[in-house]
């Protein structure tokens, strides 16, 4: 389907990434193993208030803080006396596309629009695709989601199939691929062909977008209980949720 060999495209990776994100990562490399992360985030020019404002325009964030009374009681039923914390949860499903990934996609969409990109693209098989597609629709941007979607018999995992449906409902093109690491190869072809903004989960925009989650959490607990939370528990996969939430808390 494409004349570009795997190697030919992968050799252009650095150039394609630079033009699709607008960040020269080499600028922040300070040694063989060190990287000036703080400078990279600062150079984006987005502070917390600006991010809150951008997210508020598309109803992202300010999700409810909900007390889990039954779960707290269940934990206490099996804990030693005096243990078993009161559990409060940020209901991130209340974001427009149904997950905290809206926070991550919102800044990328804003940045893409600001810099005149025609659209945004992401390689994702999960909630992030729906978030990017939703944000693209709100910003009037084109959108392409590349999914690792099915096995060699054409069978798709239902969770991924549901994200295909959601993205298409938001008006995004969904390219579904069979299993393999060449997802990234095809994603680079798409970026090269369309000149779209790369809404990767690993850009500073995606991390900065989560800082509002940590901030809201601290403010909401303080307003409700008169004190900040003792402990915040966050899930960790690629590290973005933990990094962003922690940065927002401090």
């Amino acid at each position: 389907m494409s004349k570009d060999s795997y190697k030919a495209i992968m050799d252009q990776k650095a150039d394609i990434m630079r033009s699709s994100v607008g960040i020269d990562y080499e600028k922040y490399t300070t040694g063989p193993l060190s990287f000036d992360y703080e400078a990279m985030l600062n150079d984006t020019g987005y502070d917390l208030d600006t991010i809150r404002d951008i997210q508020g325009r598309t109803a992202v964030g300010d999700t409810p803080l909900v007390e889990l009374r039954n779960l707290t009681e269940l934990v206490r039923a099996v804990s030693e006396p005096g243990k078993g914390a009161r559990l409060l949860v940020k209901d991130e499903a209340a974001n427009p596309s149904g997950s905290f990934k809206d926070r991550r996609a919102s800044l990328s969409a804003f940045e893409a629009k600001k810099n005149g990109y025609a659209g945004i693209a992401a390689a994702t098989s999960g909630n992030y695709g729906a978030a990017v597609a939703s944000q693209a629709a709100k910003a009037g941007l084109g959108c392409i989601i590349v999914q690792e979607a099915f096995d060699s018999k054409g069978i798709a995992q239902p969770e991924i199939a549901e994200k295909t449906r959601a993205c298409e409902a938001y008006g995004a093109e969904v390219v579904r691929l069979s299993v393999g690491p060449e997802l990234f190869y095809y994603f680079l072809i798409v970026l090269k062909e369309t000149g779209y903004f790369n809404a990767s989960l690993y850009t500073p925009y995606s991390i900065l977008g989560i800082e509002t989650l940590g901030y809201e959490l601290a403010v909401q607990v303080k307003a409700r209980e008169g004190r900040f939370p003792d402990v915040v528990v966050a899930t960790h996969a690629g590290g973005g949720n933990v990094t962003g939430t922690a940065r927002g808390l401090i």
Partner: protein
């Protein structure tokens, strides 16, 4: 009889992106045995037959060529059967809470 779709119909096309000998190095053995395939949906640029070659315009406006796999494709995914091991959990949890609340 082959199914035929008219121009502008919403369809899915598919095709091989990389043949098995063109794929990335260092793949697991079973992945090495198969080609990298893709499927994408869009509106037909011309009348086409299922199984035949077709050009589509995708939702992002790209023109993509492939083999016509589905005409107005159905979303077939579902929740499946309840998991028997999980079914009794709600009752067990409610019993624990009831006991605890009665005791206090």
């Amino acid at each position: 009889m082959t199914e035929r779709a008219l121009k502008n119909t919403w369809v899915e096309i598919g095709g091989v992106v990389l043949q098995k000998d063109q794929r990335a190095p260092n793949l697991p053995d079973d992945t090495k045995q198969v080609a990298l395939e893709m499927r994408v949906k869009g509106f037909l640029v011309h009348d086409a037959e299922k199984g035949g070659e077709a050009d589509i315009i995708t939702l992002s406006g790209r023109t993509v060529r492939g083999t016509l796999t589905e005409i107005n494709p159905v979303y077939t995914h579902m929740f499946g059967r309840p998991i028997p091991e999980l079914s009794p959990i709600a009752g067990e949890i409610r019993a624990i809470l009831r006991e605890r609340r009665n005791a206090s």
